[in-house]
Amino acid sequence: MAGHHLIDAYLAELARRLPTDVVDELADGLHETWRQHLEQGLAPTDAARAAIAEFGSAAQVSDAFVAQASGRTTARLLLATGPIVGAAWASTLLAARAWTWPVPAGVAGGMGVTLLGVVACLIAAATTRHGYGRTRLGHVAAVGVITLDVAMLVLVLLAAPLLVWPMAIAIPASLTRIAMALRRMPRTAVA
């Protein structure tokens, strides 16, 4: 069935805001809705207007995808739990006198820079209301969080000269967070 210029314009607006897969899916639903209105006897232009009204404005539809994007939810979850895990590791590093560990300055510096980048990505993904692309930073940050947690666990295993009690909190906390972040990784190309 041929399209209608109002529907084409609406889909073009959505394509500026959302990934191709999402727009393809919406296009199918919009054409089905339009066809339904045509079958009910509306003129093509009236049917197109009615179909678009049922979907809501392009901005409303796009914002609904942003609000429910898994990357945004993941970022909010990691931001909420981050201070607890961070405090456990800070206590561990202080109690175990981490500045005395035989860790190259480059490794420590790299972890610090990675941590800053992860936090920036998490904040960007968690706070966006209109940008779908920004929600994907939540998944990027989740990979960063997993990397940092694994690095800390390896560091403690290889470099910590003694066991300190905050490790009993920090290590399980990191393992739990790794499992949570892995579980929230997108199962689909668009998530």
């Binding site: 199918d28 979907f55 995808f65 199962r187 998530a191």
Partner: protein
């Protein structure tokens, strides 16, 4: 009576899973199933159905597959095993909740408490 979107928001996942209980559907078919299944009472804004389907797909409750229909790409959703388990659990919880509410709002006169 038509419930507003806000009233349905907390139950949207259960409604979507229930709409897919009988077999795979695409987004528009899910919307129509909810509208027809509710006798026209639940005519949800179409723009809310699609992101919610993507969200429950990310949660592993449904899985989507692409096909081509009339030259257009169509995404069809079906329940996963986890989605089916969630549907049963949420359905049971809803029945208990609804029975409790009904037993209160449809009971006889309340006894005087002076």
């Amino acid at each position: 009576m038509k419930p507003d979107g806000q009233a349905l928001k907390g139950h949207l996942d259960l409604l979507l899973l229930a709409a897919l209980a009988d077999g795979p559907r695409h987004g528009y078919a899910v919307k129509e199933a909810l509208r027809e299944g509710s006798g026209g009472r639940f005519d949800l804004p179409t723009g809310t159905i699609y992101p919610a389907l993507r969200r429950i797909e990310s949660a592993g409750l449904v899985t989507g597959t692409w096909s081509t229909v009339d030259g257009r790409r169509r995404r069809t959703y079906r329940l996963t095993a986890a989605g089916r388990r969630r549907l049963h659990a949420d359905r049971d919880a809803w029945r208990e909740f609804a029975m409790a509410i009904t037993s209160i709002v449809e009971r006889g006169p309340w006894p005087a408490t002076t």
